[in-house]
């Protein structure tokens, strides 16, 4: 009897020890996934793999801004608003911050619009800074890691550099307070100051209802070879040409404007979406920033995207094999674009079209309301889940400090 008592006691101790250990480690180990095969990683379900805590900020950071200008819900930066709404009602949300893996701060920095609808980023750094000051003073979790387990949505042109002009954005660099946080942004370019290592690139927002309202029957034959609608010269901001799109769009126009295979113009036709569905290739050149909603539209409509933007990082690049789906053309090869495209073997083109026809691919590019499995919201969560578990070193030891709260341009330090 004594022997069994000791066994039982020993068993209890072991259980206790392991319980404590479990509390410390706490998280499930994410399994190793074959990254880059469409339909495999894309179909992961993030529920149960991570927990997100949503900070309750005063409504002046989110709701009031939206009330002032509801146009924010329709422009291409609307992902920040819809992500907030999604997280509030998602099963990954937890109300207990102690068990959260990631912390989300709902601050709408891209909602200060001009009368034309373009966002002005001048107050965004101050707004972000004020939000961070708030969360760091009201909750202990920011100071615990200095933001390394926090994520922010910064869908503006150059992400957290908060400027629309590339030179200025590079000058400013990423906001110092966000240097340790994970940024979820639309901008992505390799070896660029404004793309932090470990950021998650997302597609720009494209309204799903509008897209689905313009679908045409699938047996409509694709008779347009290359399709593009948009500006080639930005006469307002770059009258001499050469700055806008690094001259790539102007090169496309000058070289192919009288080529019957290229249906390119600056028109705004009402049949824009329908025409894309009748085209084999859709040009997605860079503009002032390398990303554009054209990529989303091309993927959803089954048109092979031709990406002309050197060193661009495309959305969910670790889950979607863009090299196999789209055609990448260097900006210096634009004059040879017709040769490049006509020399692609037809089997390759058919394969790309088959990959594009995959519904998981299309779903991953959109932000539908309400959220559906496999959509961009879930891909963001998958990306966040893949970064777990957090490295132990992000937790600051007492007295350790990385961020300099007074760094940056003087204008940023003013209160918002």
């Amino acid at each position: 009897m004594d022997f069994w008592k000791w066994v039982f006691f020993g068993f209890l101790c072991a259980a206790l020890v392991s319980r404590i250990g479990a509390v410390e480690l706490g998280r499930n180990q994410p399994t190793e996934r074959i990254s880059g095969s469409a339909g495999d990683v894309l179909e992961d379900n993030p529920v149960g793999r991570l927990k997100v805590f949503v900070y309750e900020l005063p409504s002046k950071y989110n709701k009031k801004i939206l009330q002032k200008d509801p146009r924010c819900l329709n422009h291409m930066f609307a992902a920040e608003i819809f992500m907030h709404r999604f997280l509030l009602s998602s099963p990954v949300r937890t109300l207990n911050p102690e068990e959260a893996d990631w912390f989300y701060t709902p601050v709408y920095t891209t909602c200060d619009l001009t009368p034309n609808g373009l966002p002005l980023p001048f107050k965004s750094p101050r707004m972000m800074r004020s939000a961070i000051q708030l969360i760091s003073s009201n909750w202990p979790y920011w100071n615990r890691t200095e933001g390394a387990d926090h994520f922010f949505l910064t869908p503006h042109d150059f992400g957290a550099c908060f400027h629309y002009q590339e030179e200025k954005a590079i000058e400013r660099g990423i906001l110092t307070l966000l240097k340790r946080a994970t940024l979820v942004q639309t901008f992505g370019q390799r070896n660029h100051v404004c793309l932090k290592d470990g950021s998650i690139t997302i597609p720009p927002y494209a309204p799903p209802q509008k897209i689905y309202a313009h679908l045409i029957p699938e047996n409509t034959p694709r008779s347009i070879f290359v399709y593009f609608r948009g500006l080639f010269y930005d006469v307002g901001n770059d009258p001499e040409g050469g700055y806008y799109a690094r001259g790539a769009r102007a090169a496309v126009w000058e070289n192919f404007k009288d080529n019957p295979l290229f249906d390119i113009s600056t028109d705004h036709p009402t049949t824009y979406y329908e025409d894309m569905q009748r085209a084999v290739f859709c040009l997605c050149p860079l503009g002032w920033a390398p990303w554009s909603p054209r990529l989303v539209e091309a993927v959803v409509f089954g048109c092979i995207p031709i990406i002309i933007a050197d060193d661009i990082v495309l959305p969910f690049a670790d889950a979607i094999p863009w090299e196999e789906i789209g055609v990448f053309v260097d900006e210096e090869d634009v004059p040879k674009l017709d040769t490049i495209l006509t020399s692609i073997p037809p089997e390759v083109i058919l394969r790309k079209q088959r990959l594009l026809a995959n519904p998981t691919m299309k779903q991953a590019m959109l932000f539908p309301q309400p959220a559906q499995p496999g959509d961009a919201f879930h891909q963001v969560l998958n990306g966040l889940a893949r970064k777990l578990p957090h490295d132990r070193s992000i937790y600051l030891k007492p007295g350790e400090k990385f961020l300099n709260w007074t760094a940056g341009p003087v204008g940023d330090l003013k209160p918002w």
């Binding site: 629309y164 000058e171 029957p217 000058e254 084999v280 210096e332 040769t339």
Partner: protein
């Protein structure tokens, strides 16, 4: 995205240049007025004046040309040249160079980690020397498009398409080439396998054979012993018999597919051929009847139809649940007494109650000794000997309720019926080849005829009013044809009698002959 920042960005760039120049000025003023400093001052002033006139940043280009040592890319260098100036003159080091390419020796800032090959700033617009389409590439692109569309058809179009068997009764006449070419081109566009059975009244002629040989389709050209009568009534009867004869050929050769009746003056849409692939045994489509009527305001009232269509349509009639309940037929009451009797009457030609062309059959219905034939179909041989006229394929059926309505239950009109024929005494050149070529008649009013010989007779009908001041052309003839002898050559005359319309002058140049 940048529209609102027009002023701002432009001012910024302006201020940059001014700042640079201001610094330069202050530096020059602060130091001893060395000749070099004065020289730079003067040079900069001249450059500013020039750029004011010319309108671009000439000054920066000059600095670039003077400062740069290595042969860098002309496109990106101007900005980097300016950045150098800025970094020399400004107090703080610009992190602009962090994103720039690593140019040996010129950069002052230390480039951290890996460099990007993307440079911020002004780039040139690359235009190739001959920016026009290359025909070989255009052809390759069209081949790619063709392949893509073929794949689309395979994925989304009709699965397991069946051969289309087109039956056309025809006979040699003036308008035959016109009508038959239309049908032939429609059939050539059909993306499925096709067999074209052409039954010719009066026996096989070279005329018809030469027309259909150009199609490149698989054709079966047979002759029918009788000649085509001159009345519409007779023609319809004979055509029905010719079609039955074609069905006999289908049975004989055991052709497998969908039989459709392509009359030689009908117009077919491409969707028709896609739609008839859906037929199981016998189907009906809606046919639009185009009546050559002088009274365009006449609308035909149809039995049992709510709205009156301006164009009569023959075809299946369905109820709300898309089941066949009846037929839209042609109501000829309006045209009693006014319709054409003979083929060349200038009166509206009426169709039968239900035209053959509105029906499609599975070819197995006419086969002999096939087990899975449905029991409601009569054997073809029963119709052959029968004395009564077979008006439509419905005579093949014991009950008409088994007909499948096609084209969204008859709501889509997929082909059009029209009968237009020339006068029975009209003559046309054999195979529509004018040989030997026509003579010169009279040049048009405003075209001076360079060196036509004088006394050129004309043998065409000319309107009397056509005058010419030119001495060379003298004689006009009116509607009479008077034989004239020609000086230069002897040519056989052509008696071309053009059908019904005023003759237009056909001026064929002598020199071009």
């Amino acid at each position: 995205m940048k529209l609102s920042a027009l002023q701002q960005s432009y001012l910024n760039r302006r201020s940059n240049s001014f700042r640079g120049s201001a610094q330069l000025d202050s530096a020059a003023d602060g130091s001893v007025k060395s000749p070099a400093a004065v020289f730079w001052l003067v040079l900069h002033g001249v450059c500013c004046l020039i750029s004011l006139v010319l309108g671009f940043r000439f000054s920066r280009l000059v600095f670039f040309f003077i400062f740069s040592t290595s042969a860098t890319n002309l496109y990106t260098a101007p900005f980097r040249g300016a950045a150098e100036i800025a970094s020399h003159l400004d107090v703080r080091s610009t992190p602009v160079t962090g994103a720039a390419d690593s140019v040996p020796g010129n950069m002052t800032a230390v480039v951290a980690s890996s460099t990007s090959r993307v440079v911020v700033g002004r780039h040139g617009i690359r235009i190739r020397p001959w920016p026009h389409p290359d025909p070989v590439e255009v052809m390759k692109a069209h081949q790619i498009l063709e392949r893509v569309q073929r794949e689309q058809r395979a994925l989304f179009g009709v699965k397991n398409p069946r051969t289309v068997i087109a039956v056309t009764p025809t006979y040699a006449r003036t308008f035959q080439k016109l009508h038959l070419t239309g049908v032939m081109h429609s059939l050539m566009l059909v993306p499925y396998d096709l067999v074209w059975i052409v039954v010719e009244a009066g026996g096989v002629t070279n005329e018809t054979a030469s027309i259909i040989a150009k199609s490149g389709l698989r054709t079966i050209h047979v002759g029918f012993r009788q000649t085509m009568p001159n009345s519409w009534e007779g023609r319809h009867k004979l055509e029905s018999r010719m079609r039955l004869h074609a069905l006999g050929i289908v049975r004989e050769q055991k052709l497998d597919g969908v039989v459709m009746f392509a009359d030689d003056s009908n117009m077919h849409s491409m969707e028709l051929f896609d739609e008839i692939q859906n037929v199981k045994w016998i189907g009906a489509v809606s046919v639009g009847i185009l009546l050559h009527s002088t009274d365009s305001s006449a609308t035909i009232q149809r039995e049992g139809e709510e709205e009156s269509t301006p164009m009569p349509v023959q075809g299946p009639a369905c109820n709300a649940t898309n089941k066949l309940v009846g037929w839209h037929t042609f109501n000829s009451l309006q045209y009693v007494g006014r319709s054409a009797v003979y083929i060349d009457d200038r009166a509206p030609v009426l169709p039968r109650k239900l035209e053959w062309s509105g029906f499609v059959l599975n070819s197995r219905l006419v086969w002999k000794d096939v087990d899975d034939k449905p029991e409601w179909v009569k054997d073809l041989d029963e119709l052959d000997g029968a004395g009564e006229e077979v008006e439509s394929p419905l005579s093949l059926l014991k009950t008409t309720s088994v007909v499948e309505p096609l084209g969204n239950c008859g709501r889509q009109v997929l082909l059009w019926w029209l009968r237009v024929e020339a006068r029975s005494d009209s003559k046309f050149p054999a195979q529509w080849i004018i040989d030997p070529p026509l003579d010169i008649t009279v040049p048009s009013k405003r075209t001076p005829w360079p060196d036509a010989p004088p006394e050129l007779p004309s043998n065409e009908k000319m309107s009397v009013g056509a005058q010419t001041q030119d001495q060379q052309i003298n004689k006009h003839s009116t509607k009479t044809k008077t034989p004239r002898t020609r000086r230069s050559r002897t040519k056989r005359r052509h008696d071309t009698k053009v059908i019904g319309v005023q003759a237009s002058t056909l001026s064929v140049s002598e020199q071009q002959n």
